[in-house]
Amino acid sequence: MGFLNKIKSKLTGKNDSVTSKFKSGLTKTRQSVASKVNNLVKRYRKVDEEFFEELEDILIGADVGVNTVMEIVEQLKDEARSRNIKDTEALREVIAEVLAGMLQKEDEDSGIHMNPDGLTVLLFVGVNGVGKTTTIGKLANRFKQEGKQVLLAAGDTFRAGAIEQLEIWGERAGVDVIKHQEGSDPAAVVFDALAAAKSRGVDILICDTAGRLQNKVNLMKELEKVKRVIARELPGAPHEVLLALDATTGQNALSQAKTFGQATDVTGIVLTKLDGTAKGGIVFAIRNELDLPVKFVTLGEGIDDIQPFDADAFVYGLFADMLSEDEENEEANQAE
């Protein structure tokens, strides 16, 4: 049984809607990556240097990033040599295998760390326009559906309309929002929200912050302060610092992850707008170059368009076309 079929059979035990969401959300990605690889395999019968060069282009074109691509290709060359694979058709499975291996790390907890005794605090950080506020709305709704009591802190006091935006999401999800005026100190908002969360006995507090470019020293310091206030008011908190990353972002995403990581000890990544971009390859670069797990992905504009990241489903979404083509071929062969 081929590798992709293995993933597929593994996935049949999982919730079908999760898989189909990844599949439909990643339609564009799949078309660009998988069909290109397929096309490549068709054109080159033999595994040679030119084949690998074109494969490099395909992966770079998916924003995987030069360094990571080089590593992937090196790994593939090694595999091809040790397994004595000369036929591109046979290498195709190996490509999927290597890529999936990159995303999956053994015994890693990709879920949200919950505080076992009491309030869990999540802090959202990221550059401007990546979708922090929207993601918080979706996540609040998700926790609420699970029966948790949720409170939101409108910590983006800078951008015009940001507080109102979070309030609308709060209404949609049926969750209260703690806010101050525009222009006030975000640390003060978070301080109040923590006090409110404690006195109301809520399960989860999600804190929004203003988008900021990672090279603005003062703004990063402000973020450190917000985190410090949370840690002071509730030892052990924040239990997760989630960096929202726009999936359309190129190599700068690595710089974002590094710098925000240094300032706020980011514990995980939420990859947004994965439905729109034709890529998502930055996930590979992030897994490869930084020790940060992807925890959630958002795949649409609806309130429930958020999914825990699932490496199997992700790779399956990327390569489903290859698989169906395989099956078609098999069927065709059988018909003959």
Partner: protein
């Protein structure tokens, strides 16, 4: 990011070639490979890179640059020229309608910065062309998008046209143009909802808006951090709409901004503006040549010079020079100088424009804090005018008073005094002739 600049990489390549006398096919291959990697790391689309490399190869070899003494420099020049040309060569201007109102529409993906750019552009046309713009809130989908534009309108003291969240964007836009004519607004700026380029329905809505008001300018707003996908986005929007230009946002970040090249190559339309900050005046006309330097990691010297020219007072600079020469440079003058430098903007922003600085920054993570300069200022301001004129009289008790007054420590005061003394000594050497030994770091300012 700590990417090596293309300049450094090519220099390295040519070091190996130099002395060989003849340049082999392999050397050329190595060179083009370095260029390719540099552009890919800057997020230029790989297809665009391919075409580009072919062009550079032709030009570079045709001119026999490899025979020159500094082939690295020559090739970089060729690359930079080609990049500049590809990005549109000259800076291009805003297209204003001969018969008002000029209708400008902003389109793009979610989170690219359309609403903020709308406010900045309104501010720009009012300042530069003395226009009276009307902002139009046609994003009825994103929660609080209208509110965001209204808040910007309030900050700018400009009217915002809105029909609420339940109206059809096409109606909103059509009515807004009528309203603009009635109320004599000569520029109409339409804020549309962010949408995915693959969203059929939403793209059709844009086409309907375009058909209804026939904008004079339709700008695609693109996040400078966009990766390889920028090409697909630009393609889809330019297929559907009659794009006339591009606004590149979030350029104040540390991205190389290779997306600029991709977008220009695909749409064929010039990048007209660059957004470079969170404030409403942070919108500048786009300079292709400077962007070329940035993509190559060579720093933006021209903008730096321009900033200096804009903000440095010429007369004051002359006075300063005279003072330096006559050795009557005091703490007051020093304070003045700090003020001049500060006017040019935050120091880390200035530093980022200097060639090689991004490399330095990435490696050592040097971050200049404006606060430190604030401390220096505070110390000087805590001195009496006598002390400023003649620092030698500052004894222990005076130091204590200064430290207390400025909220710093005696050590801080001592450090500044010593640095000031060194600086004067250095000036003496620089102005007084070439005798003394040259200092390693001639600009050893106290805050660097």
């Amino acid at each position: 990011m700590a990417f090596e600049s293309l300049a450094d990489r090519l220099q390295e390549t040519f070091k190996k070639i130099r002395g060989k006398g003849k340049v082999s096919e392999a050397d050329v291959k190595q060179m083009t490979r370095e260029i390719r990697l540099a552009l890919l790391e800057a997020d230029v689309n790989f297809k665009v890179v391919k075409d580009f490399i072919n062009r550079v190869k032709e030009r570079a070899i045709g001119q026999e640059v490899l025979k020159s003494l500094t082939p690295g420099q020559q090739v970089i020049k060729v690359v930079q020229d080609e990049l500049t040309e590809l990005m549109g060569g000259e800076q291009s201007k805003l297209n204003l309608a001969s018969k008002p109102p000029t209708v400008i529409m902003l389109v793009g993906l979610q989170g690219a910065g359309k609403t903020t750019s709308n406010g900045k552009l309104a501010n720009y046309v009012r300042k530069q062309f003395n226009k009276n713009p009307l902002l139009v809130a046609a994003d009825v989908y994103r929660p609080a998008a209208i509110k965001q534009l209204q808040t910007l309108g309030k900050q700018l003291n400009m009217p915002v046209f809105s029909l609420g969240e339940d109206a059809d964007p096409v109606d909103i836009v059509a009515q807004s143009v009528e309203k603009a004519k009635e109320e004599h607004h000569d520029v109409v700026l339409i804020d549309t909802a962010g949408r995915l380029h693959v969203d059929e329905e939403m793209m059709e809505e844009l086409q309907r808006i375009e058909a209804a008001v026939k904008p004079d300018e339709t700008f695609l707003v693109v996040d400078a951090m966009t990766g390889q996908d920028a090409v697909n986005v630009a393609e889809s929007f330019s297929e559907r709409l009659n794009l006339t230009g591009v606004i590149l946002t979030k350029l104040d970040g540390d991205t190389r901004g290779g997306a600029a090249l991709s977008v220009k190559a695909v749409t064929g339309q010039p990048i007209k503006f660059a957004a470079t900050g969170e404030k409403l005046d942070a919108l500048e006309p786009f300079h292709p040549d400077r962007m070329a330097s940035r993509i190559l990691g060579m720093g933006d010297v021209l903008t730096l010079i321009e900033k200096a020219q804009q903000d440095m007072d010429e007369q004051k600079a002359k006075d300063m020079e005279k003072k330096m020469r006559t050795m009557s440079f005091t703490f007051d003058d020093f304070l003045e100088q700090i003020g001049q430098v500060r006017k040019m903007g935050p120091l880390d922003e200035l530093l980022s424009m200097m060639p090689g600085a991004n490399k330095l920054k990435g490696m050592k993570n040097i971050q200049i804090d404006d606060k430190q300069i604030g401390h220096v200022e505070a110390i000087i301001r805590s001195m009496t005018s006598e002390e400023k004129e003649e620092p030698d009289i500052i004894n222990a008790s005076r130091k204590r008073r200064i430290a207390n007054g400025s909220g710093t420590s005696i050590q801080d005061v001592n450090r500044l005094l010593k640095q000031f003394k060194d600086m004067k000594k250095m000036m003496k050497q620089m102005m007084g002739g070439t005798k003394g030994k040259k200092k390693k770091n001639p600009f050893n300012l106290p805050f660097m």
